[in-house]
Symmetry: C3
Subunit: 461 residues, 3 copies
Amino acid sequence: MNKNSSNTMALAPNTSNKKETVCIFGTGDFGRALGHKMIQSGYPVVYGSRSTQISNLIPKDAEVLGHAEAAQKAAIIIIAIQRQHYNFLTPLAEILRGKVLVDISNNLKLNQYPDSNAEHLAQLLPGSKVVKAFNTVSAWALQSGTLDASRQVFVCGDDVEAKQMVMNIVRALGLTPLDKGSLLAAQEIENYPLQLFPMWKFPIFLSLGLTAFFFLYCVALDIIYTYIYEKNNFSFFIAITIPNRVCPVMALILLALVYLPGVFAAIIQLYRGTKYRRFPDWLDKWMLCRKQLGLIALAFASLHVVFTLVTPLRAFASWRTGKGIISQALNNKTEPLDHTTAWLSDSYLALGILGFFLFVLLGITSLPSVSNNVNWREFRFVQSKLGYLALILCTAHTLVYGGKWFLSPSAYKWYLPNIYILSLIVPCAVLVVKFVLIFPCVDKPLTQIRQGWERNPKYSK
Amino acid sequence: MNKNSSNTMALAPNTSNKKETVCIFGTGDFGRALGHKMIQSGYPVVYGSRSTQISNLIPKDAEVLGHAEAAQKAAIIIIAIQRQHYNFLTPLAEILRGKVLVDISNNLKLNQYPDSNAEHLAQLLPGSKVVKAFNTVSAWALQSGTLDASRQVFVCGDDVEAKQMVMNIVRALGLTPLDKGSLLAAQEIENYPLQLFPMWKFPIFLSLGLTAFFFLYCVALDIIYTYIYEKNNFSFFIAITIPNRVCPVMALILLALVYLPGVFAAIIQLYRGTKYRRFPDWLDKWMLCRKQLGLIALAFASLHVVFTLVTPLRAFASWRTGKGIISQALNNKTEPLDHTTAWLSDSYLALGILGFFLFVLLGITSLPSVSNNVNWREFRFVQSKLGYLALILCTAHTLVYGGKWFLSPSAYKWYLPNIYILSLIVPCAVLVVKFVLIFPCVDKPLTQIRQGWERNPKYSK
Amino acid sequence: MNKNSSNTMALAPNTSNKKETVCIFGTGDFGRALGHKMIQSGYPVVYGSRSTQISNLIPKDAEVLGHAEAAQKAAIIIIAIQRQHYNFLTPLAEILRGKVLVDISNNLKLNQYPDSNAEHLAQLLPGSKVVKAFNTVSAWALQSGTLDASRQVFVCGDDVEAKQMVMNIVRALGLTPLDKGSLLAAQEIENYPLQLFPMWKFPIFLSLGLTAFFFLYCVALDIIYTYIYEKNNFSFFIAITIPNRVCPVMALILLALVYLPGVFAAIIQLYRGTKYRRFPDWLDKWMLCRKQLGLIALAFASLHVVFTLVTPLRAFASWRTGKGIISQALNNKTEPLDHTTAWLSDSYLALGILGFFLFVLLGITSLPSVSNNVNWREFRFVQSKLGYLALILCTAHTLVYGGKWFLSPSAYKWYLPNIYILSLIVPCAVLVVKFVLIFPCVDKPLTQIRQGWERNPKYSK
């Protein structure tokens, strides 16, 4: 939806007013792609190149000159060369004085250099106005005209007018400029396209590891054990039954892991008697990926819901239902309704539904556009109060469902506990400690510490 | 996701370029937390304090001086003191002339003072450049480094350069500055962190009240009545059966309440013959919380869907199914398919599914990021056309499902109507009146009035 | 949620500081509505009108003067007249010199004039500072105080201070200004409110057409054929059974159509040996509406999921289940579990669940707020890798489910293939070609071409 107006603009560029010439240093892929797009949008383009012989891939309508001559023709020069070659620009410092230099470079890995490329360029050519832009756009997307991903172009620079000129070009190309402030933001902008879900790595690997473990655990107990000792081949359990046993276990454990670091942090603060000391590194990192853990937990919970709801459609389920009914019919009797079973069945379903409902609510509020529109108090209320309520409901759901297995010997095949029992350890521990933490005698000093009070002030004069 | 790059920056601050000294007036919790964070990000920090004795909680690397000396050391002064103490700054006016003063204060309640704190400060010290910032960030979140909620820092101020300096600091601390314009926006920014879902209060209380009423109504008719007169104990209905009766009723009524004020508004405009008079206050307020009413209705509808889909998993349902089949089997006969029943059952399910589908679509378009990307025509189309279609489908779903009860005496236990019948009153009324309003003879004058025509122009000269 | 603070502000406007007079040229509906709102927010309003006699609908507190006198009273003049009457402003050029002119006009259709109205106005009155604003707000919404849609007001203009003044007014009216840069953006802003889902038109018409075709195809084969040859009346299949046959077919075909243009593009590039030539127009347009195709496919998939999950609730389904069980019971035998059926049933359900799960994930990442927060690499990873995985899973789901029909003669009623077979053509073709394209011998030259290499460089000097 947000692309419509921009598209229209890109397809019907405003060619009524004459556009200023743009110079591009460098004839690599990105320089060429950008030049093509600019010519399409009505800008005269001049390429600055060491040799005008190698430039046979350059768009037809563009001029190709030496660097110095090209730079003199335009007020804006796009530096489409790599950082290691920036030094060759220093002899041109006098020609580039007062011009707008657009740094579009990217690095190969995060924090490759101590300073950002744009700041490095600004240091080399203190007389020029350096603006960082275009590095988050891909040459391929620019060329093909089909920008799948975000059309946002992050722009930063110290000179407001230079930035404005670059942002106008960005707009004329049908992209959306986003002002990120002064050149200090260049490092952030340069790191941006190098990331592939950096905050998701640990949560995803943790989930994959745990899922593999629980899956094999269930295969061993539910299929192999049954096959060996009961001579029943339930290998088709791999498709639905076992995934639907692993998903809820993962969802519950990951949800508890979202709230565990908060409990640790409270204990550490109570022990230290101050909030003015950094948490251990592992706790900091854990706290920073709580949102990701929570979203993965929500994904597992959603899968559990769908896997559960398709149960009546399974051939196995209808066979089992039919068998039960036929055996009653053949015995010529109708079993009366067992009220305890009805209560238990309805309770765990209702608890699960409500828990999942709150869980989805938490997921929706963590969408960027929603969380940007709630303030800190509201976010705390949702994520803390409703989050704990969801954890309580989901734990209760599991307890009511799996409770009967705790004392049943059939839950301990090969002396190993059923995974329902394993899944309850972390959430119960979190809930018990949290319950202790909200006792007034513990809560009061904790609140004081969080408001800045210190048990043993250290920096006394 | 949007926190990644900022985090990286916060963890690896750009310490290469020397940062300007920042002065903080006030050694309260927030002043200390902000100082800690600034020192971590490479800023030299000077505290201005009445007495340098009490400052034993201040970060080690910070200097502590008297107010005047501290202010002279920095171009930016953060005013971390409360509004009622701002008067003590007036003697320092000469020293603070031309400096950037950052007002970070919050009030205890909405609109506590006639003007905003930042405007008050600017009035007290007309020679200084006041910038409002940081008030939406919590000290605890700043200190612990784990900013759960939005990293947005709203910034406003009349001096563009001063604002730019403050926004650079915000960025260096790993937060996202958001320029809200001139100091006029300070009141809005100061009110922001004080709110706890203000628009949600009335819709939530209304829903809770109605839900409680309908729940007790159902408990009385479905459990207590059955227990007294039919000696059947269906207490387990509390878990799923009754919630699944209350949820659809609530969803339908709330959805109708979303469209009711629009109908009222049209009637009032037709009666008055002008659109240039304010609606009564209650109608204005009701119209402003339509979005919230609609989202709560969607929540109830979603719960109804899940509660309905788990039906086949309930012990009660499988017992009832079994009982029905066994009684047929014992009588040695198979009932033929009743086509009327099949039609009714499939119709109400299909109507419900389509209604819920449109309802979810309405919910998605009310997400801030989606609704910001559609224009007024598109939003009207979705919310009005599709909204009414959803209301029609959901009402038809209820009518087809509950229709058979209208004339059945068993629907009037204790002479009280079944809640299906109650739930249909408001939606049917809305639909009937809306149907009248789209007749040309009514629609034409209404459209004229909405385009500015008046029946009895009053302000004639 | 995002409206709260603004509402509060609108209800309790900051009347403490005196506001500058605003002049409005034109007494049409929008001029009046804006004047009303401004007076409510504390601005003195002067109307400039040709004749002060016709102005009897103007708000009571506003002054009405001739154009010249009115313009002299204010620094900001809102031009609430239509573009074709702009010429009458040229005699006033001297009076309007240095003033801020706010162009709020809209056109009746897209790209009605070669240049935007605001640029036209700026050209007519080069001495004035033209700012484009307010055109995306509706008069009705402004008047009634109940802004349903976005409160965003797009603002653009060449003069930064003039823009700042207008943005302050926007804020004071309780709306959210959004700076879109220089006056070049005016065309985009003017086109914005004229669009009604422009990118959605083709995908929606395509879907409606295909849906109608498949629906009638199914009605013919499943209802009419059965009625004629088997004397069975299954007309109630229209409500659920046939929609649930059409929805998955549509979802699969549309999902394949999302990935088909990418395959075409790769083939065209391989054939041409260069990426520096535009794709044919139809391919460009197709690529631009892939997101919309994908979202419609997701809608069909979601409907398919819900339609499938309600199956056990249908009267027809429970009748069929009961019939099957009773016939077994009457024969006094219990059929053993058929492991092949159990495997097939569980596999296609599990494949469908996983495919749908990935599909929903794709849908979530295409929400504007999420896709703006992922970079190009991340978006490519999700949309390309996960997208193809979803397509593979959904195709496999259909193959496992419908596979048995391929060789069964009952799938070819009237010599027409079952729609399952039809639905598999496009996805299988896409997957096969894609499989060929990832062979190293094909993938290597394609990657080179996409990095800028050309087989037959043309622009050689």
